[in-house]
């Protein structure tokens, strides 16, 4: 397993795509915080007073951490769907999956190594997002509050932050598994990206539709991935800018639902891959 994991990390590290995706993450984080800051400070801003006030608080510590992780989650899902789908789909396209399986034979181990490599990459991505966001938030807090007071950073807060960090990575992982599933099913990058991003965006529309419905269909979003992923993050530290929303499942509910999705996706990936005939 260690050898295969090392191979996967080497392949990810040597790919230009990895570094481009990282650059996109950094650029997105910077632009998001800069534009948010400008909309708060600009007198000609179109935001309502309530939104203005919520965003102003969100750009300052300690609530800034919720915003940072929420933004990291949003962009991280898209970037890592692309990476995960490429990591699987390209292997079919290049014929390298046959090259590796034809000399190792252990299909489950091969796929497990990819999953573990993507867990490591997800943790790194969230860590980088958190680091960049923290630096930017020092600036926004300083500008909006006249200074940074670190008194809130108690051991209990650090524990919460670690938990939030884990949840952010965990929710991204569910989408990674979804992308891996589609890429394995369709044996292509396009299938992986199209399937997972398609689900991600369609779900956002469906949640809006079902939230306005009545009866049992109103509860459907409670069993969808994105709704639970967002809930898990929002319930972590403080509802902050999302505080007005009470229509979200509990942390326990979201965790259980997402774990079930993750296990089902992983099981289906391994089942499919073990049964596939590969081209020699």
């Amino acid at each position: 397993m260690n050898q295969l994991l090392g191979v996967e990390m080497l392949k990810i590290r040597k790919r230009m795509m990895t570094w481009i995706l990282l650059a996109v993450l950094v650029a997105f984080m910077v632009l998001y915080v800069v534009f948010s800051y400008l909309s708060v400070t600009s007198s000609s801003s179109n935001v309502s007073p309530q939104e203005h006030s919520a965003l102003k608080i969100a750009l300052q510590f300690p609530l800034a951490f919720t915003l940072i992780l929420s933004v990291t989650q949003s962009i991280g899902i898209i970037l890592l769907i692309i990476l995960a789908a490429s990591l699987i789909g390209n292997e079919y396209g290049w014929g390298t999956v046959s090259q590796v399986i034809g000399r190792k034979g252990r299909r489950t181990l091969y796929m497990d190594a990819k999953v573990v490599a993507l867990i490591v990459i997800t943790l790194l991505l969230v860590l980088i997002g958190l680091a960049i966001g923290t630096l930017l938030s020092i600036f926004t807090t300083y500008k909006l509050a006249g200074g940074v007071n670190w008194d809130f950073f108690t051991s209990s807060f650090a524990g919460h932050l670690i938990k939030m960090f884990g949840w952010t990575a965990f929710t991204i992982m569910i989408y990674i598994l979804l992308a891996m599933f589609f890429a394995t099913l369709g044996r292509s990058v396009i299938a992986g990206i199209g399937g997972a991003l398609g689900y991600h965006f369609i779900e956002a529309i469906l949640v809006g539709v079902f939230n306005n419905a009545s009866g049992w269909s109103h509860r459907i979003p409670d069993y969808l991935i994105g709704h639970n992923a967002q809930s898990l993050l929002v319930t972590g530290l403080d509802r902050g800018p999302f505080g007005s929303s009470t229509n979200i499942p509990s942390g326990l509910h979201a965790t259980v639902v997402l774990i079930i999705y993750g296990m089902v996706f992983l099981g289906m990936i391994l089942y499919l891959f073990r049964r596939q005939d590969l081209t020699a």
Partner: protein
């Protein structure tokens, strides 16, 4: 890798190996036997199941029925212990375009396990790619890609090497180099399985061969024996007309044709003595008898009906 010299040892044995894709029977009750040290040619028209057979030999494709034994072990039970002893050059090189030649080999060496850094240099040297080792695979020419794929197959110094169209995309000198490499590996006692549509290539390097058509073996054996079997005899006799009449009425002779004052008889060459005896019995005497061995091309076209 120390290789046993026991040429009686069966390295590959398939029994009624069958693969169906839906209603299509790609491989149909295939029975192959390859002994240690053989350079085995695997021939067949396009779509005859050759690449599917290779896929099944290395566990990429699951057989619908039948059995494969490699090194005396069933591959369904012992795949992970068998594969490190096999090297495969696939039809499509199957390497990472964004990695350099040496990084590609490094990746595959780590996957295989037990391959040291020195060996990567050795195989690069062997295929003549040392000077381009640090260039990205995507910048290689088709021939260089194929040579790197051969280097990858040799990384773990395997006992049994499968080559699926190894000279694809190579220029004539590249083809010659690969042929020489195959022969030299054969001389080292390695067992080789060569799938190629280039008949003269197979004829030049393979000592044994099998021809498949629609997933079934239609001819198998020693190359020289098969070519003799598909050969012809050219005769000059004392009474040409009478000889033609007698030979045409003989059951085990497939065809008799007159060529000026000589006769061409399509018959396995080992039956030359029987022909001589048959004619003598009828008071016809030979003034000349020449064996004309079939080429692999004519033999192939004859047995495949192409």
């Amino acid at each position: 890798m120390k290789i046993s010299n026991n040429t009686d040892e069966v390295v590959v044995k398939t029994e009624n190996l069958t693969k169906k894709f839906g209603n299509l029977v790609a491989v149909n009750e295939l029975n192959l036997k390859i002994h240690r040290g053989e350079i085995f040619g695997f021939l067949g028209p396009n779509g005859s199941g050759k690449t599917t057979t290779i896929g099944m030999l290395i566990g990429l494709i699951r057989p619908t029925a039948g059995r494969i034994e490699i090194f005396g072990q069933d591959i369904m039970e012992s795949l992970t212990t068998i594969l490190p002893r096999i090297g495969v050059v696939m039809e499509k090189p199957g390497l990472y375009p964004y990695l350099s030649g040496s990084d590609n080999l490094l990746v595959l060496a780590r996957v295989s396990g037990g391959v040291n850094h020195k060996r990567i240099g050795e195989v690069l040297e062997l295929v003549g790619l040392t000077s381009r080792a640090d260039d990205k695979f995507q910048t290689y020419s088709m021939g260089m890609k194929q040579r790197l794929a051969i280097a990858a197959a040799l990384l773990s110094d395997p006992e049994f090497i499968i080559l699926d169209e190894p000279t694809n995309g190579l220029d004539p000198s590249g083809m010659k180099e690969v042929r020489e490499l195959i022969k030299s590996l054969g001389n080292q006692g390695k067992t080789m399985f060569l799938n190629s549509h280039l008949l003269h290539e197979v004829e030049q390097v393979c000592d044994h061969l099998a021809i498949v058509k629609q997933g079934k073996v239609i001819a198998q054996g020693e190359t020289s024996h098969l070519l003799r079997r598909g050969g012809a005899l050219q005769l000059r006799v004392t009474d040409t007309e009478k000889a033609i009449s007698i030979l045409k009425s003989t059951e085990w002779i497939s065809s008799v044709t007159r060529e000026d004052d000589s006769i061409q008889v399509d018959v396995p060459l080992e039956r030359a003595a029987d022909i001589s005896a048959l004619l003598a019995k009828n008071n016809i005497f030979l003034s000349e008898m020449k064996a004309r061995e079939s080429t692999l091309e004519t033999f192939f076209l004859e047995v495949t009906g192409g």
